[in-house]
């Protein structure tokens, strides 16, 4: 069942078109990535879905509800972690959780969240005294305190060190494991590849592709090598290997394109025919390559 359905969403500010017909749907229980460089309409889209912005056109359904008309009901069912949001310096961790829990009809026990998110030791600490990672964990806990069906996490690892990012990723997986659908906005390829079941790739206010990370990458890899003996006959049967898509030869340099575990098949074939090679390299396609192929521009 689709928990979020966005159809032909449009939004402009003055004469700047920010969203130019965005459509996608999010299925129950998945981690859905919204990926794209900064300024491509990711956050605007998510804020429209959260009912924080009014779209100019198109339709949005969140669990069957209109986030503008049924804002209150939608806000009962979703939890959000917004980009660039702070809490008052002097609020204590437990006070923030207790306060936000009071906003919802069926909140979770915030003491549990405190434990789960490793904040029990910081219960009485003031927000302003927390480290970046602790603040981020508190924001995620606040997004979950209302017992939401969908959690929106916007650029949640920006500004965290690599170790804290890894830890946060594990926590996001745990959120999904608890049955909450997660919408993850990110401009980090590695994050999306690690976490998301499916990804909508944004470029200039449009969705240019929706697929699994593996599907976007396409599973195609390349292998290059140079024949040492200068004899090309040994590579003759390579085209016939089931994993190989294409073989191109230029003098003694050979480039093989294939999918899956084609590298093992190719090297086994070469060994069987006693072909000696040097400069063997395998290029794995990445989401960056996929993005460049989809949009004709590099990511950052």
């Amino acid at each position: 069942m689709a928990v979020i359905e966005v159809t032909d969403l449009r939004k402009s500010y003055a004469d700047l078109t920010v969203l130019d017909g965005v459509s996608f749907s999010v299925e129950e229980g998945e981690i859905f990535g919204i990926l794209g460089p900064n300024g491509t309409g990711k956050t605007t889209t998510v804020e429209c879905v959260e009912g924080l912005r009014r779209p100019d056109g198109g339709s949005i359904r969140v669990l069957g509800l209109d986030p503008v008309k049924d804002a209150r009901k939608v806000h009962e069912l979703i939890g959000v972690q917004l980009q660039q949001t702070q809490l008052p310096e002097n609020i204590k961790v437990w006070e923030a959780l207790d306060l936000y829990a009071s906003f919802y009809a069926n909140p979770r026990d915030w003491r549990e969240l405190l434990e789960e998110w490793g904040l029990a030791g910081k219960r009485d600490a003031r927000f302003g005294k927390l480290s970046g990672g602790q603040q981020q964990r508190l924001f995620i806990a606040l997004a979950l305190v209302g017992n939401p069906r969908v959690a929106f996490l916007d650029e949640l690892t920006t500004g965290l060190d690599p170790q804290a990012r890894r830890t946060t990723w594990e926590l996001v997986k745990r959120v999904r494991a608890s049955g909450v659908t997660v919408v993850l906005v990110s401009h980090f390829m590695d994050e999306v590849e690690e976490l998301c079941d499916r990804v909508a790739v944004f470029n200039r206010g449009r969705v240019v592709a929706v697929d699994t990370p593996a599907g976007l990458v396409g599973g195609e890899h390349r292998m290059r090598f140079t024949l040492m003996a200068g004899d090309t006959s040994g590579t003759a049967g390579l085209e016939n290997l089931p994993e190989v898509i294409d073989v191109s030869r230029e003098g003694t340099r050979v480039v093989v394109t294939g999918r899956g575990d084609f590298a093992t098949a190719v090297t086994a074939h070469l060994a069987r025919h006693h072909v000696l090679v040097s400069d063997l390299r395998i290029d794995k396609r990445t989401l960056d390559d996929a993005f460049a192929a989809l949009t004709g521009r590099s990511f950052e």
Partner: protein
């Protein structure tokens, strides 16, 4: 809503600015109070006007503009609670703070200093409410226009001193040029201070000045509501 009020009240007590709004007028009262004659009708109204002015012009706009700057109002609008609740809670709490500051001043002046306390309690309350309403309206307008908390604080300070000067809170009115003193009487803080002095002197407050205060409160709060942004 109740929990929001409790948490915000706790936060207010942790705010050094709140303590200053209580202590600075009290300090002025005590320092100058040692040299007043018994039955003085000038010093206490002045201290009260300073207290209300500080809460309305510094504390209220700085708090609200900081909340907007930090995205706290925006975060609230993503919950089932309307961010308008925060505005209501803040205005009420700051009102409580202004009343507390004035209560403290009255208590100290009435007991320790032996200053004159007004007999016309209803008109004193009326003047206090209208004066506070006009100060808070200006505070809300600052909060609406200031891009961030620091700017709100700066605008508050920039407005406070000329307003306090024109109101005759910085030196005795008879030492000001007559023209300036006359104009000053129709500024929000001036009308507030003057009405207070009238009540303290045992007279009924001038309807014209009360009308001026009500006018400021109404017009400026409409402007604040028009310009207010949640983010």
């Amino acid at each position: 809503m109740m929990k929001l009020a409790v948490v915000e009240a706790k936060l207010l007590t942790r705010e050094p600015g709140a303590l200053f709004s209580l202590l600075i007028p009290l300090f002025i009262l005590v320092v100058f109070g040692s040299s007043i004659e018994p039955g003085d009708t000038v010093l206490l109204p002045m201290a009260l006007a300073i207290a209300v002015g500080m809460v309305g012009l510094y504390l209220l706009p700085t708090t609200l503009a900081t909340y907007r700057e930090r995205g706290i109002l925006r975060r609230l609008s993503a919950t089932p609670v309307r961010p308008g609740n925060m505005l209501v809670v803040q205005v009420l709490l700051q009102l409580v703070l202004a009343v507390t500051a004035c209560g403290l001043l009255l208590a100290v002046a009435g007991t320790v200093l032996g200053a004159h306390l007004p007999t016309g309690v209803p008109s004193a309350v009326l003047v206090f409410l209208l004066g506070t309403a006009s100060m808070f309206a200006i505070g809300l307008l600052i909060a609406a226009l200031a891009p961030n908390g620091r700017a709100a604080n700066g605008i508050g300070v920039l407005l406070y001193f000329p307003m306090a000067y024109l109101a005759g809170l910085m030196q005795p009115k008879d030492q000001m040029p007559a023209m300036v003193a006359r104009i000053g009487e129709y500024t929000p803080l001036g009308a507030f201070g003057q009405s207070m002095r009238e009540v303290w002197a045992g007279a009924a407050p001038s309807p014209l000045l009360l009308g001026v205060l009500a006018g400021y409160a109404l017009v400026v709060s409409i402007a604040a509501a028009t310009f207010f942004r949640w983010e």
